[in-house]
Amino acid sequence: MGVNRVLLATIAVLAIVVLGAIAYTMYIQSPKQLSPSPATNMANTPMETRSSSQSSQLVFSYGDITVKAVLPSKPITITGGGSTFVNIQMQSWIQRFRSVSGGLVIVNYQSIGSGAGEAKWFDRSLDFGASDIPISNTTYQRLVASGSDFIQIPVVAGSISIIYNLPSWDENRCGPLRLSGEVLADIYLGKIIYWDDNRVKELQIEECRSLLPHEPIRAIHRSDGSGTTALFTLYLSDVSEEWRTRIGYGYTVEWPRDALGYGEGGRGNEGVAAKVKGTAYSIGYVEYAYAIVNRLPTAAVKNKDGNFVKPSPETVSEALKRGAKNLPPPNAYWGDVPKSFINREGPNTYPIAGLAYIFIYKDIAKDPDMARAISVFLKWILTEGQKPENLVEGYLPLPPELARIAVKYVEQGLGI
């Protein structure tokens, strides 16, 4: 009879496993209405807690901004996720912020991709979502329909570097390769095939034009969906009528040059960079941070004023300052915001600049401690977090003009 009991127990365990699997699949099918799940790594929560009555005030500054923030009265864990682009910066911020808050505010960030970040924030699995583009039109319509008020703010800036592998080019004598948006669009459209095409030639300085060989340009692009592609194609759509009507912009687009056999995809920034490095006569586009850290040869791109500019904190900041002027209210549809940083005027402006965004629901402020925790974290990354010592190499700060607006949106949205 003992054997039967063992058998019974085994059957019970297996039945539980199967039922669990079914329950889980039903759970992931159903929309989540529950409040955000508690933190996963409770192990990191500090053991010592401050007396609950004490609410210490902190003061942060950045440029001419000075902002006050209040710590929560008990330890709070915030869970965020989304954009892979901001991940490295976010982890660094989180680590430094832990000591700023005395361990009272613990932030977890999961690098699950911008699209997933938006979706999981929308169904309230995350306290905040981070994305390389603002809230999409579909999500925005659903937010309006459900009556949930929210704010979105920029948190950090990024840019795109055009990298190239042109063995015959003499960078010491000729400087960086020069390209324009129209030429880039026509290369990726497959209309400019060879390096010695007249339209590429005429951008270079006179004595260096002969260095361009009669070799087909190998155009490398991201094969995986990415914010990098979204920003790059947004720029191409802005400068090229044909790109806008035929291709458009987004995380993944069609690449007409591939059909000619002169285009190819690489997975991630590292995949594109590896292919450009390994392929003579190629060009590609990567995240600015990636090009800087790996010291890849970067092209100068023609800006609206006709100057050829390489990406740098200063040249990207020029574009962001100009775009900051027409930032819409935090709960509006921000679909046109990315365009306002693209191809801006100014002699020293780099034409491709973009932002990463964070989304939060206003009703998260119902819990005063949660409101304080999110507010103090966002205020810190928008001020102290933008200073060079707190930025990871290659990430670009928000100009103070933009950071001030973002801090204002946080204070208005959370009431603290």
Binding site: V17, T138, G225, Y251, E254, E264
Partner: protein
């Protein structure tokens, strides 16, 4: 009788096996159901276009996976053909030709190569195999065949390179099966064949014929591995939406690498998540079809003898 000995025998054991089996079947059914439910929207939207057109555009919300379907089938079939030749050849070498003392060493080396993580195969494929193939095979082929198989100036990352890399990766699995089958041919068959005065080569050929069902099984196992392999193939296949997927010297896509590339930001587009689930369902259907075909063929072989 110790309690352990009394544990699990007779009907109890069968009951346990039956329940474990049910759990596995239930899991498979749940997976297929999820793929179907999640993918339903794309089949309604695109209909047959989903598998008969080549387009992957989040911007226009148009999805057709013919290019990836073609890439999957082409790389799978090419990889199996090459891997089977390698598997049969290396099995014959190990079982029939090598001196007795070398056999365990060589077979364990072959088995070891099956346990190398696929990302390492991918790295090797990207940095060593792809440039090598571009120089010794692809570019000569391209200049000889004009544009039938691809555009000139190959970079080495292509469906062809993907197939070669896959065949190298899956051949240890196929070899293990073929080798064991060859070992299991009864000694008296050997003796009988030699006693008829056949040469060594003729005996080996007859023995290979004798184990042809095992070779078929090896092909099936290898196919399963080939079609699902993601990361290594993704690194060398080029990852390009290539409507002319039969031009195997051009970069292309497989369904597995397409899914790996696209899932991250898929939720930003209304139809991309269903499209990914739909593609996964098709991948599953291919696997099922191949399994059924192989079972049918092996039955036929048994009765045809």
């Amino acid at each position: 009788m110790t309690p352990i000995r009394g544990f699990l025998k007779g009907k109890d054991l069968f009951g346990l096996i039956g329940i474990s089996n049910l759990a596995i079947i239930a899991t498979v059914i749940i997976i297929v159901a999820i793929l179907g439910i999640e993918g339903l929207r794309i089949f309604i939207k695109e209909g047959v276009n989903f598998i008969s057109t080549s387009v992957w555009s989040g911007v226009r919300e148009r999805y057709g996976i013919l290019f990836a379907l073609g890439g999957t089938l082409i790389t799978g079939v090419m990889a199996i053909s090459i891997a089977l030749v390698m598997a049969v050849a290396s099995s014959i070498t190990i079982v029939e030709i090598l001196p007795r003392r070398l056999k365990p060493l060589i077979s364990s080396l072959v088995d070891l190569s099956a346990s190398i993580p696929t990302v390492i195969y991918g790295l090797w494929g990207l940095f060593v195999l792809a440039p090598l193939l571009a120089n010794i095979a692809e570019n000569p082929l391209l200049s000889a065949l004009k544009s039938y198989l691809g555009s000139p100036g190959s970079l080495g990352t292509s469906l062809f390179t993907g197939s070669i890399l896959l065949s190298i990766m899956i051949s240890p699995f196929a070899t293990a099966i073929v080798r064991e089958a060859l070992y299991s041919v009864p000694k008296y068959v050997d003796e009988a064949l030699y006693s008829l005065g056949l040469t060594r080569f003729e005996v080996i050929m007859l023995k290979v014929r004798y184990i042809r069902r095992a070779i078929l099984v090896a092909a099936m196992v290898a196919y399963g591995r080939a079609v699902g392999e993601t990361i290594a193939v993704s690194m060398v296949v080029g990852n390009v939406v290539n409507p002319e997927f039969w031009k195997i010297l051009n970069p292309g896509y497989t369904i597995a690498s397409l899914i790996a590339d696209q899932y991250q930001n898929a939720e930003s587009y209304y139809y991309m998540v269903p499209a990914i689930f739909g593609a996964a369902l098709i991948l599953f259907a291919i696997g099922l079809a191949v399994n059924i075909a192989v079972i049918a063929i092996s039955r036929g072989a048994r009765y045809g003898d």
